[in-house]
Symmetry: C2
Subunit: 233 residues, 2 copies
Amino acid sequence: MTAPSFRNWQSVQDEVLRRIHAREWKPGDLIPNEADLAIEFGCARTTVNRALRSLAQNGLLDRKRRAGTRVAAQPVAKATLDIAIIRNDITDRGQKYGYQLLQSRTIVPPPAISGAMKTGAGQPLLHVMALHLADDAPYALENRWINTAVVPQALDVKFDTSSPNEWLLQNVPYTNGEIAFSAKMASRDEADVLACLSQSALFKMDRLTWDNGQSVTKVQILFAPGYQMRTEL
Amino acid sequence: MTAPSFRNWQSVQDEVLRRIHAREWKPGDLIPNEADLAIEFGCARTTVNRALRSLAQNGLLDRKRRAGTRVAAQPVAKATLDIAIIRNDITDRGQKYGYQLLQSRTIVPPPAISGAMKTGAGQPLLHVMALHLADDAPYALENRWINTAVVPQALDVKFDTSSPNEWLLQNVPYTNGEIAFSAKMASRDEADVLACLSQSALFKMDRLTWDNGQSVTKVQILFAPGYQMRTEL
DNA sequence: CAGTGGTCTAGACCACAGG
DNA sequence: CTGTGGTCTAGACCACTGG
């Protein structure tokens, strides 16, 4: 049996996966270094590096300088969620997108908001509430605070035909952010807007984005009952 | 002003980010090709490639052969969730991990399960229910089906001291999987086990993993009220 | 200190898709 | 057909870190 040759990084990756899978390399095991693998696979070290780096990014390998590469003892599944603009979420599924502005005003936020956004306690922010609809049915309720000290252009935008979700993502860059998902029981008002029963279990997404240390916007999006966020592993 | 030199792919990435950020390159714009950027930045094309490839992976650029590289018009935020073993989730936060097996038996599953797992309608599966605790408080309820036709070793494991969550992740590889997050109102039984009020809003994770086209396991994990899944952007 | 992964380089060929 | 990104190569130096 002749040794198969591995001509590209994906086939190298496949072979490494096969060995992990077949338990030739067991969790916790140290695997050969890049140079040796390159010789064995008959390719350049760069190619092996690319394959192993990719696997490490997926959590299947642990790599450390000098210490070498090990098969992850406790694999951590990395699930990548694509958080798209809500309009696209809906139209991509072939549904009709609808939008309704519920409220838009500049007010002094409650302490919880100004605290999280690190804005001054008395500093007013733009507060927008809007409803997204799919095929005329309530889909998600957007409850957003915008730091107009950082994004003054937002004051000139009427969010009556397109949502702040859309406008901000397309027009305001950010350097980093935090996102959290949780479940929340619908309050009476929320149930009313989302046309569901009070006390329904709702899927909630909280996002806070920053631009070079200054908060840009903080948003809570409440999805109507039945919403699922899915992805592949 | 002398042109700064970019000696590594991260600094190239930073510069590209800066240009996008400063709107020198606007959403939808075609940016210069790799070769030109390499000349401008005074580095090898490989280095530019690495930087742009990374940005494309993060959803900030759209790249196509022949068509070139464009700034994403509708940026899609990619949030990477690390789905760790529940025990580690808890101990990493400095809490005490506890575990309790509620039930373990081999039975014929309801059609919804055998359908999703693509097992024969009458084929029995191993069904395990277990509770994870953090500092002695209920944390998550694991409701799992295991395809013993694919993982016969599971029959020899007593899940009385460590969970199937842990055992499977450490011992059974998979090739791919699906994962979904949603919200669910607690049934009376679930509320009982999780020591919360009936009708509480619970965060739910459903995972189904496959190994070369055969289902390995299907699990539903219900988290006690207050649970948040967080990540950075 | 020395072995490992991390990266850069210059050049090359290839695959794809727009015109 | 041709320009673009995608990738491979061989060699080199560097940065980190375990022993």
